[in-house]
Every structure is written in C-alpha cells, then in structure tokens.
C-alpha cells in the first residue's frame, strides 16, 4: 500500500547528503518505484547535480540497487536520470536561495521531507539556530507562500530527535515539549535573536586589542619567526577558531541551563515549537528518531555513512585510549537502526497529514538495550577481534567499571594538563630531529585526550539519560500496515535482536569504517617512501634548499668565528671567545625575534675585513665548517635532484662569499650580499634585504617566474618555522631535522620529514674556531 500511495508523487528531500537522507533516497528509489525525487542540496563550487552524483548516488548504499538494475531495460544511471533531480538550495537562507526553476520544481512537489540538520553536537549556537531551528520554519514559510492560493498544500515531514524531551527521567510521550509537564515556556524568537546577537558580541570581543594581542602571541608561539604574512594568517585563523569555540561553549551552556543535553537537542526542540506555531494550515508531521546507528538489513546489514555518535567512542575504547566511559549500567541506551527510521519516515509520508503530529522512532520502551548489555557485547567482540597497535600487537580492552562522569572527566583532565605541560616544555627547548617528534607525538596524544574528553562531555549525558521514549504512535501506524508493507518497510523496533545487532552487524561495520588495524604484524610505513618518490619524481622542476641545519650543522656565527679567529693567537682567541659568549644571549634573542634584523646587525662585524684575505680563508673554511659539518644525505639529495634534471637553488641568509664553495651543487645561489669599498674591504652593509622568512618564498617565486617553472612543481627543504612561507609556497615541502614547531606542523600536514645527520666521523669541536696556526704559518 505504501508504494502505491506514493506512486506518482514528487518528493523533495533536504539533507540528502546526510546519513538518514542518503538511506531515504536509496529506499525510495528502490522500494517506491513510482515516485520522483527532488534533492535540495547546496551547490557550492561544483553545482548541485554534481554533488548529488558524487556525494549521494556514488555512495555504497546504492550498490544493491545498481546491481539489481543491471541488465534490465533501464539501468541505475538511466533510472536516476529520470527520477532524481537536483535543486540548488540552502536551508540556512530565507527562501532557501532558490532560483526560479528551483522554486517551480519545489512548488510542484507533493511531499517535502526535511532531514537537514547541523547534527554535530558541538556546533556553534548561532549556526545550530540557523539550521536546526530556523531551517524547518523557513521551509514551512516558503511552502505556505508558494501555495497561499491553492487548497491542496504539500505535506511536510520534518525529522527531529527524541532528545528534544531534554534531560529527564522516565516516560517521554510523543508530544510537543510545550504540551508536556516540564515546559518552562521558552520563546523561540527570543532565542534566535539572542543567538544572532551573541555572534556579534563574540566577534566584537575577539577584536579587542587585548584579545588580538593574545592571538598574535599564540600565533608567534606556534610559528616562531615565520614572517609577517604567515603570522597574520595564523592570527586570524586563531581568532576565527576562538569565536567558534566561544559559540560552541555558549550553545552548550544555554542548552544545559534550560535542561537539554546540548545545542542540537535544544534547537531541535525549539524548532518543533516554532514550526507548530508558524505552519498555519500547512500539513506537517514530525518524526523523532533516537540515536541512529548502522542499518539492520536495508540496503545491507551494517550500512553506515559517516563517523557517528557511538563509533568514535567505541573505537577509542578498542584502541585502549578510553579506558572508562561514564554511564549507568542499568540505564537504557536508545539506539535505532537507520533503516527502521527511514521506513518510519516513508510510512508517515505515505499516510499523509492524518498521521499523528509526532511519531517517535525509538527502542527504549519496547525493546530496550541496556547500557551494560551494550558494553558487554562491545568488550566481548573486541576481545575476540582485537584492534592491533602499530607494532602489530593486539590491544587488550579494559573492563568497564561504569564510573561516574565526574571521575572520568577528572582523570582525563589531569592527563590533559600533564601532556600540555610537557608540550609547552618541549616547545620551549631548542630541539631538533627525533627529539622534536616527541613533541609532535605529545600533541597527538593531547588531541586524543581532548577528543576523549569531548566524547565524555557530549555523549556522557546521552548514556546517563534515563528517559524512556514511548512509541505508541509508531506502533499504531505499524499495526495498520498490511503484511506486504510490514515486510518491505519494517520499522518495528521489536524486530532487533540487540546481541546479534551489536556483534554481527554494527561492530564489524564500525571497524571497517574506522579503518583500524585488525590484523597482527608490523605496519610498514611506506608513507615516507611514497612522499620521497614523489619529491624525486622527474616531473619536479626546482629543488630549493635552505642552508643552516638543512644542508649543514652550522650557522653564520660559526663561519664568522672561524674567519675571525683564523689569524689570531692564543690570548686574542681567548678574548674573542669571552666577548662572543657574553653577547650570545642578545644575539639569540634578536635571531628569535627577526632573522633579517639579526643578520644585518651581525654582519656589521665584517666591516673593514679585507676582501682578498676573507676569500682565501673562506676556501679553507669550506673544509672545516661546510664539508666537515655537512649532512652527507643532504648533499646526496641535492645531487640526486640535479641528476634528475631539476634546477637546484640555495636560498640562505649566509653571506655569498661564505657559501661560494657550494657553487658546484647549485644552479642558483641566493645569499646575502655585502658591498665592497673601493679600498678592497667589506663595508659591513648588505646591498639588499637578506633572503629570510617570507622573502624566501618571494625569491623562489621570482626565480620560477623568470625561468618558466611552476611553484607547484617545486620542492623546498627547510628546517624551521621561519621558512614556513617558503614551504607553504611550494607543491612539495620537506621538513629537514625540523625544530619542535615545524615538526608538529609537518606531521599535521603530511609533509615529508627527513632526519639528516652529520657523518658519524665528523669532528666534534666545542667552539667553531679555526685551527691554531704556528708562528711560521701565520
């Protein structure tokens, strides 16, 4: 009967790229062959039809239908071309931002199923309000406007959530919150206004001088001396993130203050109220599912889209990350498979306006899954099928003690503080290479803990929720169905056998989706090898190298010291060393603040140095500073690039005469240039801005432009965050012996990281002084 009553109907669907939406589209296409679908999606850059094809019809949910239609008169593609239409529209804009043709298409629809929502439990308050609360209101208003004249108005089915009932114990009936006993009389319009105002307030707060200074300081701490543009971009990014976080916090706080677990449930509750008040005579029905999880049977057992609520928690537990999770063992965790929800929505749509205003789709009242039962099943399953760590060792899952939320939170808080302190400490140390990756590892650990904390905060409430959602309306519709419909559109929550569902359907699917390691044996990280092959592909055009700590373990101060002490005797050397050591803190501070300023200041020391002598000594210095302290693997890499026909470029703040000996390795050397006085001495002044920070990116860009190369085909090797602009500018960045901050950035962005070291036999000298000459040699 359902299929027949929907035959010839035109059904518009919002949120079809989501979990429920995709399942709904699939089910309607497969089980209601007579209907036509109009999918309202945000077109974005690619356009709505393309998004429908790529993000919906290409999902593996459609595999079953695709194979069923294979070798029939009309295959899947042809059927979709006939029955599926894309409408470019945005639920967070008044009138949905529809075009004329889009309006016409929507106006022609008989049924509108609204399943779009900001489902993230931690969305910022204002966007939750715009999408969840105002979305259905806008849709209802638009439909009313389009059909103001006609008598036959389309039927709106809005998908909500059981959790609109809020934090309560006991029976939760299929009623509007305002009709229940716990209503506190909230005005949804006032909430909308205040949420919008809040966005403005938070934005304003983020722009106060104090706040901006704080963001700037944090950006500097994260990036170091990366140059003004990079710092500016990072500062703005931090500000944006802060605004988002504030709004998320505000949403959670507001929801909690009026009795909802989070902004999602809160805004959904208000939405029901708002639609009810503004719908006029538009026929509207609301379907409230509880926690939607993987499919019981349709389109195939275990089908799931996206990483959903329980999955991250389950995977964190299986990976040994989350050792405990709050919850009441005898509490009910109200899970419902997605295909049951979809079937219920279709049944409500088929029944039309005479269906009950609210239908809850939940399992708690008729076929409850106890929290302890879920936990036992999860533990048993992962004991039998353990996840393996990177070493290939199985991870033993811990026993669950059902601790209170406070205790778990305190544990995680403590761990987080500890890890954060360690991270701060590491970042403040001048570490490189392997040590620097400790910090990256700590950061990963911190993010894991943070995520676990979020789960506990967000989902903990759900596991502690002891509300029982009644499904009287749902069962009434179920009982009215004939046997064929009951078979095709099963939405009876009592049909689920939880042990079977959790162990044989849900967990295998979750594990597959999370792509966790389920087999023993060491994982071979061929990522570096792959990236390296990519960097050394013949298609690359230019390889740019930084000098200090990328090619050699030395710096401008060392080369200066070497040259300066070359002709000094014992006592003079002593004086030089003491003087330099005394100045060291000042120099270090300057270098941290601005590399360019430091170089200019430092190079003043070359003033009055005779050019001829320096050039002669620089040749000898090549052996003692450059070759002796070079990284053989780095030099090898430069030559590999040359052998592949790539142009090699050295970009360094060192003085040109100090790197002259590296000439045979590079097609182009961009270094600091010092002017020479007519009397054959150095002036101590640079002829142009030394290539540091963002100037490096610019220099490379200019080189590429001048020679017809593309930055996307460039490889850049550098060691510190001050080179970030250069690394970001090229298509193939490589972090060499990265300092702590760069190591973290490289890890996050998936850049190739090389650990290059001096030759094991390299001389180890405490001070970079030239070997002492005897009286005769001097």
């Amino acid at each position: 009967m359902i299929a027949e009553s929907l035959a010839g109907r035109r059904i518009a669907i919002t949120g079809s790229t989501g979990f429920v939406g995709t399942a709904l589209v699939e089910r309607l296409l497969r089980s209601v062959p007579g209907c036509e679908l109009f999918l309202i999606v945000r077109g974005g850059r690619r356009g709505a039809p393309s998004r429908v094809r790529r993000e919906i019809l290409n999902n593996d949910a459609f595999d079953r239908l695709r194979s069923e239609l294979k070798d029939t008169a009309e295959d899947f593609e042809a059927m979709c071309a006939r029955r599926v239409h894309a409408i470019d529209g945005d639920i967070s804009v008044d009138g949905l931002g529809l075009s004329e043709s889009g309006r016409a298409q929507l106006a022609s629809c008989h049924i509108i199923i609204h399943s779009a929502a900001a489902v993230a439990f931690d969305s910022p308050l204002d966007s939750a309000v715009e999408v969840n609360l105002l979305g259905p209101v806008r849709l209802a208003a638009l439909l009313n406007e389009m059909h103001s004249e006609s008598a036959a108005k389309p039927h709106l089915v809005a998908v909500s959530t059981c959790y609109v009932a809020g934090n309560r114990r006991g029976h939760a009936p299929e009623l509007l919150v305002s009709e229940g006993p716990f209503d506190i009389g909230l005005d949804w319009r006032a909430e909308v206004d205040s949420a919008r105002r809040l966005r403005g307030d938070v934005e304003a707060a983020s722009r106060t001088p104090q706040a901006l200074e704080r963001f700037r300081a944090n950006a500097r701490r994260e990036l170091g001396a990366a140059g003004a543009p990079a710092l500016a971009a990072k500062t703005e990014q931090l500000r944006d993130k802060w605004v988002e976080n504030e709004l998320v916090r505000a949403g959670r706080a507001r929801a909690a203050s009026v009795g909802w677990p989070d902004a999602y449930a809160f805004t959904k509750a208000l939405a029901e109220q708002a639609v009810f008040e503004t719908k006029g005579d538009l026929p509207v029905n609301v379907v409230r599912p509880s926690i939607i999880e993987s499919a019981l049977a349709e389109p195939r057992p275990g089908w799931i889209r996206g990483f959903r609520m329980a999955e991250p928690v389950i995977i964190s537990y299986a990976r040994g990350l989350l050792r405990e999770f709050p919850g009441v063992p005898e509490g009910t965790i109200d899970v419902i498979p997605v295909d049951i929800v979809v079937a219920a929505i279709i049944a409500v749509a088929a029944k039309g306006p005479e269906a009950p205003f609210i239908t809850q789709v939940a399992s708690g009242s008729t076929n409850p899954l106890r929290y302890s039962q879920l936990v036992d099943n999860v533990r048993d399953w992962f004991t039998a099928h353990p996840v393996h760590d990177a070493e290939g060792q199985p991870i033993v899952v811990p026993d669950w003690n059902f601790p209170g939320r406070g205790r778990v939170q305190k544990q995680l808080d403590r761990a987080q503080t500890l890890v954060m302190r360690g991270e701060r400490l590491l970042q403040s140390l001048p570490l490189r290479g392997t040590q620097a990756t400790w910090s990256a590892r700590l950061e990963e650990r911190r993010i894991e803990i943070q995520r676990a904390l979020e789960y506990v905060e967000l989902y903990g409430l759900y596991t502690e929720c002891e509300a029982i959602y009644s499904v009287d309306n749902l069962l009434r519709i179920w009982n009215e169905l004939d046997a064929r419909d009951q078979d095709t559109f099963c939405f009876d929550p009592r049909a689920v056998s939880w042990d079977h569902y959790v162990q044989n359907i849900h967990l295998p699917s979750v594990v597959e989706h999370a792509r966790v390691k389920m087999t023993p044996g060491k994982t071979k990280t061929d990522r570096s090898a792959r990236l390296r092959a990519n960097v050394l592909s013949p298609n690359r055009q230019v390889a740019a190298f930084d000098l200090e700590n990328t090619l050699i373990a030395s710096n401008v101060v060392e080369s200066y010291s070497w040259l300066a002490t070359r002709h000094l005797n014992g006592p003079e050397r002593m004086r030089y060393v003491i003087r330099t050591l005394r100045e060291a803190p000042t120099l270090l501070g300057m270098d941290r603040k601005d590399r360019g300023d430091f170089l200019r200041y430092f190079y003043r020391r070359y003033e009055d140095a005779p050019v001829e002598q320096i050039e002669r000594d620089a040749m000898e210095m090549m052996t003692h500073i450059i070759v002796a302290k070079s990284f053989p693997a780095a030099i090898r890499r430069v030559r590999e690039h040359r052998a592949l026909g790539h142009r090699t470029v050295l970009i360094t703040g060192a003085l040109s005469f100090n790197v002259e000996s590296l000439r045979p390795l590079f097609d182009e050397i961009v270094a600091a240039e010092m002017s020479i006085r007519p009397d054959g001495t150095y002036s101590g002044q640079l002829t142009k801005v030394p290539p540091t920070g963002e100037t490096r990116a610019q220099v490379l860009g200019e080189y590429c432009d001048a020679n017809g190369y593309s930055l996307d085909e460039c490889v850049a090797y550098a060691d510190s965050t001050s080179d970030l602009p250069l690394l970001e500018a090229v298509g193939h960045p490589v972090a060499v012996n990265p300092e702590t901050r760069l190591a973290a950035i490289a890890r996050k962005r998936g850049w190739l990281v090389e650990e290059w070291d001096k030759a094991a036999g390299a001389p180890k000298k405490l001070l970079p002084l030239a070997p002492m000459l005897n009286e005769r040699q001097r």
Binding site: T623, V627, A628, K629, P632, R639, P664, A759, A760
Partner: protein, 528 residues
C-alpha cells in the same frame, strides 16, 4: 743480527696471541695443534750515516750518470715525491724524503738550476695539509717553495696541467702531470714500504690522471694480480711497466730514487705490539694490560688521535737511484730481505687483526670500506706463490667496523656505502654500473681539487683491491664488527673469535687449519 721471520705452530703451551682491533687489540687463544702464527722478520739495521748514503747514491746511480752531471743551468727540474700514504705509520722527523730532496736541491743549486718544482705525487689521493707537507719535507723546503707556488700537489683533474704521452700496445693511455712531463729531468723520491710500490708505478700511477689510472685500477687487473706484491704475477705491475715503456719513449728523463725502510713499526711504549707473545716480559704484560684498560675507557675519537699521533722509529735500510727498472730490481730485493717469511702450505682459515691504519686513512678514520680493503686487499695479498688461505677457505678479521666515515676525507665513500653497496657488492658489477658516475661527479671533483677529499672513484678502487680476495674466499667474517655495517659489506659479523670459528665450520668443517698473520709489522708470506 735480526732474527728471520718465523712460523709458530700453536700447541697447548702457546700463550694467547695479539689481534689488532682498530684502535684497540685483544689476546686470543688459538686452537692447539692445528693453528700457526706467522711473525715478521725482526727489523733490519738502519743505515748509520743516512745523509752520507744519500749523497753516495746520488753520485753513484745505477745505469745512469751521477745526478750533478744531469743538472745544467736553465733546465726545468721537477722533483716528485710519494705522498702521505707512505710510510705507515709516519716517520719521525726528519723524513727520508726531506733528506733526499734537500740533497738534490743542494746539487741543483750548485749547478745553477733555478726552475725547480716540487710536486706531491697524489694520484687520486687527498691533498695533504700544510702540517703534513711540513712534516714530510721540513720547514726549510716548505717555506722556500710553497709561498712561491713551486711546491704543490698533483691535480689529476686539472685539464690544463695534464699531458697525454701516448698509448701502450694494449691501448692504455698514459697521461701524467704536465710539468713533470715537460721537465728536462724528473727526479722521483720514493719510499718503498712494500714490494708493490716503486718502479714505474711511482710515475705512471702517482702523477697520472683518472683517464690513465682506470686501465689498471679495475677488477680485471686486480683479480689477475696474484699477488700484486709479486711483480712476476701481477697484472698491475705489467700494466704500469707497459706505461713505463711509453714514458721512456715519450716522457721526461727520469732519475728514480728508491729507498727501503725496516719494519721497526712501534715506538716505546707500544713496542710490545711487535714482539712475539711468548717473549713478553713482565713489563710488556703490564703495558698490555694498562693499554687495554686505558683504551677500553677512552672515547674512540681520542683513541684515534693517540694512535695517529704515533711516529714510527723505522728508517732507511737502503737507497738506490738511477734508471727506473734497474733501481727497482735492487729495491725489491731489499724489500724481500726484510719482509719475506717462508710458509709451508695453505690454510683453511686465515685470521688477521685489522689495525688502526692503512695507506688511505692517515690522520683519518678507518671506515668500513677501508676495513675491507685492508683485510682482503692488503693483508690477503701479503703473499708470494700461493695465497695463505686455500681457495674457498675463510678469512676472519677482527675490527669494530663501525659505520663511521671522515666527512672531509672520504665524502664519496659515504655515498658508495649508502648508494652502491646497498645495490651490489660484486666488484665487476659495481664497476660497470656505478664507477663512471662517481668518477665524473662534479662535486667530488670539486672536493678533491679544493678541499682534502679522496677522488670520487677512490672507494671503487678500494673495492677492486679486495676483489681477488673476494673471489678466492668462501666466507669473510669480521669479529667484533657492527652487524648492520658488516652485512652491508657482504660479510658475516661475529661477536667472538670462537663464534667466528663456529660460523666458519659451515664452510671448512669442524677442525680446520688456522693461520694468523701477525701483522703489523709488515711481512710477505712466501707460500710453498
């Protein structure tokens, strides 16, 4: 009267035998009744009046007129001398070369010759530092010639300063230093540490270019030099002599000065290292215990400095000069007198302690490739007649063989270890696949010419040097070697000598015969 070389049959009363292990050593007990130890002859007596002997030789050359008669005003005179690879360890000052060159310069000055160049015959070795040149030639020569650019080092990669003299009947190009080639007289000052040195090899190798050297520094030549210490059976020798023929026809007049030194290798307090163990007295034993305990606690870097600081008491035992081939015949005889030890029959296992030094790591690091070359190249080839170890037998070396290279001296060795040995350790294969690329590399060339690096192709030559040994032996084991590094070389690491003997039993059975080459001091086994 110094005692001749000696082969000790090990029995149950034989004390443990000294094995070198790089910058350290150990005493190892060899299995009784099937082991023997070969000791070098004791050091021959040094000439009392060295300066007198030099003068006498210069005035009484072999098959040539006395040196003063060859010197005329306005002539171009070039003096070439052996570089830092000889002798080992370095000699206490004054070096023989200083004494000889000073004598030659005195005669030249007397004859009114003022166009004199002094050239270090580096071939493809690293350039010497000022300190090293001053050690070899003395401050007087250095200060008089170096600042005026008349004392310098041969540059095998300077196209403007090479001269092609012609080709041998085998098509081998002879290209040497241009100044030497265009001189009216080339005086070559040699130190003949082993029988391979000297003769035409002094000029045809020491002053040659890569183009010329590649004809005899290759797998084919080395595998057909059995051994390269024995001129009659050495393809290396033959090739150099063919080139000598070309030099004789088209090259400069050569006045060859060859010297031999005795094998008095270690000064006090290290003199016990050259003694036969059963003759160690209480003091020797105490010195050994103290040295070992000290070295075990010394960082390798510091131990290296201590050992490379050793200046050997060895000195001149003979000097002969004149026509190259005639001189070299005399020199070789004198070398044999000092070094030859008669040994009856081959052995299943040859053991050798690899010391801290070889010709290519003076003031530098004995890297893994040099360990291979010292063991399978030099020590394996210290034979005349037949190799000490039977074909298919086992060579056991003792050395720490760490993955350590001198970045300035051996840059191409590092890449050879990382890029070539990871692909293959078969000499002719790596020669065919990789030699050219390393030999013609601009960066190595730059470092060879302007810094202190061995030529890019040099690690290949080291590998070829060991190719006869590689081909001959069934297995090579390095006791105490760093396992990954030894594996990279294609050898087997073992932690103790006993483990090594166990490992060797797969190849040579449970009771093999063992021969230990007790060197340094240097010797050559005359295997009957």
């Amino acid at each position: 009267m110094p005692r001749p070389g000696f082969v000790l049959e090990v029995d149950r009363s034989t004390p443990p035998i000294l094995f070198w292990r790089g910058e350290n050593f150990s005493l190892e007990k060899l299995p009784a009744d099937r082991s023997r130890v070969i000791y070098a002859p004791e050091p021959h007596k040094v000439i009392d009046d060295i300066d007198g002997a030099i003068n006498h030789a210069l005035l009484n050359p072999v098959d040539m007129d006395p040196l003063p008669t060859l010197l005329v005003p306005g002539m171009k005179l070039t003096i070439a001398f052996d570089d830092i690879s000889l002798p080992l360890p370095k000699m206490t000052r004054p070096d023989i070369r200083q004494r000889i060159i000073e004598a030659v310069l005195d005669m030249a000055a007397e004859a009114g010759v003022d166009d004199v160049h002094i050239i270090a015959a580096l071939a493809l070795h690293r350039r010497m530092t000022e300190d090293e040149l001053r050690h070899q030639l003395g401050d007087r020569i250095y200060d008089a010639f170096a600042p005026r650019g008349m004392l310098y080092q041969h540059d095998a990669e300077d196209p403007d300063n090479l001269a092609l003299l012609g080709e041998t009947a085998h098509g081998e190009e002879v290209e040497i230093n241009k100044r030497a080639a265009e001189s009216d007289l080339l005086v070559y000052v040699n130190i003949n540490l082993v029988a391979m040195d000297g003769g035409w090899k002094s000029t045809a190798t020491g002053l040659a270019s890569y183009r010329s050297l590649r004809h005899h520094h290759n797998t084919h030549t080395m595998q057909n030099s059995r051994s390269f210490m024995d001129a009659h059976k050495s393809e290396l020798h033959k090739s150099n002599w063919r080139m000598g023929e070309v030099m004789r026809k088209h090259g400069p007049k050569i006045f060859q000065i060859e010297t031999t030194v005795n094998n008095d290798t270690f000064p006090k307090p290290f003199d016990f290292l050259a003694k036969r163990e059963w003759e160690w007295n209480g003091r020797d034993r105490a010195k050994f215990v103290a040295a070992k305990a000290g070295l075990n606690r010394t960082p390798p870097r510091m131990a290296r400095n201590i050992f490379h600081g050793i200046e050997a008491p060895h000195n001149m035992t003979s000097i002969q000069c004149g026509e190259v081939e005639a001189v070299h015949r005399l020199t070789t005889e004198n070398v044999w007198k000092q070094q030859l030890v008669e040994v009856q029959g081959q052995t299943d296992i040859l053991t050798m302690g690899i010391p801290f030094i070889c010709p290519y790591n003076v003031n530098s690091i004995m890297n893994p490739i040099l360990v291979m070359c010292t063991g399978l190249g030099y020590f394996f080839n210290l034979y005349r007649g037949k190799p000490l170890v039977r074909e298919g037998g086992v060579v056991i070396m003792t050395h720490p063989t760490t993955n350590e290279f001198h970045p300035v001296h051996h840059p191409s060795y590092i890449d050879f270890f990382e890029q070539v040995l990871t692909e293959t350790t078969v000499p002719h294969e790596l020669e065919a696949r990789f030699e050219k690329q390393f030999a013609q590399d601009d960066w190595y060339r730059h470092l060879y010419r302007t810094s202190y690096a061995y030529h890019g192709v040099h690690p290949f030559y080291m590998w070829y040097w060991g190719s006869h040994g590689l081909q001959h032996c069934g297995k090579v084991i390095i006791v105490g070697g760093d396992a990954p590094t030894v594996h990279r070389l294609g050898f087997t690491p073992a932690s103790t000598l006993n483990d090594a003997l166990e490992i060797a039993s797969d190849v040579v059975g449970r009771s093999p015969t063992i021969t230990h080459l007790h060197t340094p001091p240097l010797m050559v086994a005359d295997v009957k």
